[in-house]
Symmetry: C2
Subunit: 121 residues, 2 copies
DNA sequence: AATATATATGAACAAATATTCATATATTCA
DNA sequence: TGAATATATGAATATTTGTTCATATATATT
């Protein structure tokens, strides 16, 4: 049972409907695009980041106010803000030593809405 | 510097704009809802699952055809399909020993579209 | 210039999670 | 009934990732 190398033509995956596999393979977006898509949704896949985005949906806020709102320490929030910044979901402006964060555009709202719409049914 | 416990009234988080913090706290959706939202997006935050969903977007498929399409082994695909099933993103029907999976509804398409729309700019 | 404060960040640690391997289950067919 | 096949699943492993802690940086204030 351990040496199943005898039926190893190219790979050992069984295919039942070769036509469908071929068709779908052709229709699939390029690897990189799907990777980027997963990376984007990964950002939304964390409660802390969701909360931060949700807060910014209501108001522009500085780091320590976000931390206070979520009841988390400043460092954790700052780390997550960096991730949100990198994915261009939030933008920031500096006023003295205070940094204000806000949503970069309305994509966040739209993605949120689709998400909620799936949950609530 | 190490013992900053002197200013420890209730918690040690600094608040600059108390009015904003109070306002946003009131406007935030309930904890559980945000948790569910993050859980949903977590599902989309994995390349394998994104690929599976993307394939199913094109056609209903059985497990081994999905595995062949993605170039992954059957077990890995099956594990991910279980997760997708649990979150009600896919449904399945059984025909003999073959199990066919398809998208549960059109939420996947809509969420994908919003995601792509953010990536492509 | 020295101190206080807001934010950022590197490293360590802990927790979550995806894949693989082995195997179980269910169904078909001889 | 027994063999073959499609799928499911538990356990182990490896990787990823979030938080914490300590500390660095930048700005304001005295």
């Amino acid at each position: 049972m351990k040496d199943n190398k005898n039926n190893n033509d190219v790979c050992e995956i069984t295919v039942i409907h070769e036509d469908i596999v071929d068709k779908v393979k052709k229709l699939m977006p390029e690897e990189e695009k799907l990777y980027d898509l997963a990376e984007l949704f990964k950002i939304f896949g964390d409660t802390t980041r969701i909360k931060i985005l949700c807060a910014l949906l209501k108001s522009e806020m500085c780091v320590c106010d976000i931390a206070a709102t979520l009841g988390m320490n400043q460092s954790a929030v700052s780390h997550q803000l960096r991730i949100l910044k990198q994915s261009k979901l939030v933008k920031h402006r500096k006023e003295g030593k205070v940094v204000y964060y806000s949503l970069a555009d309305d994509h966040v709202i739209k993605i949120f809405d689709q998400g909620f719409s799936h949950i609530e049914e």
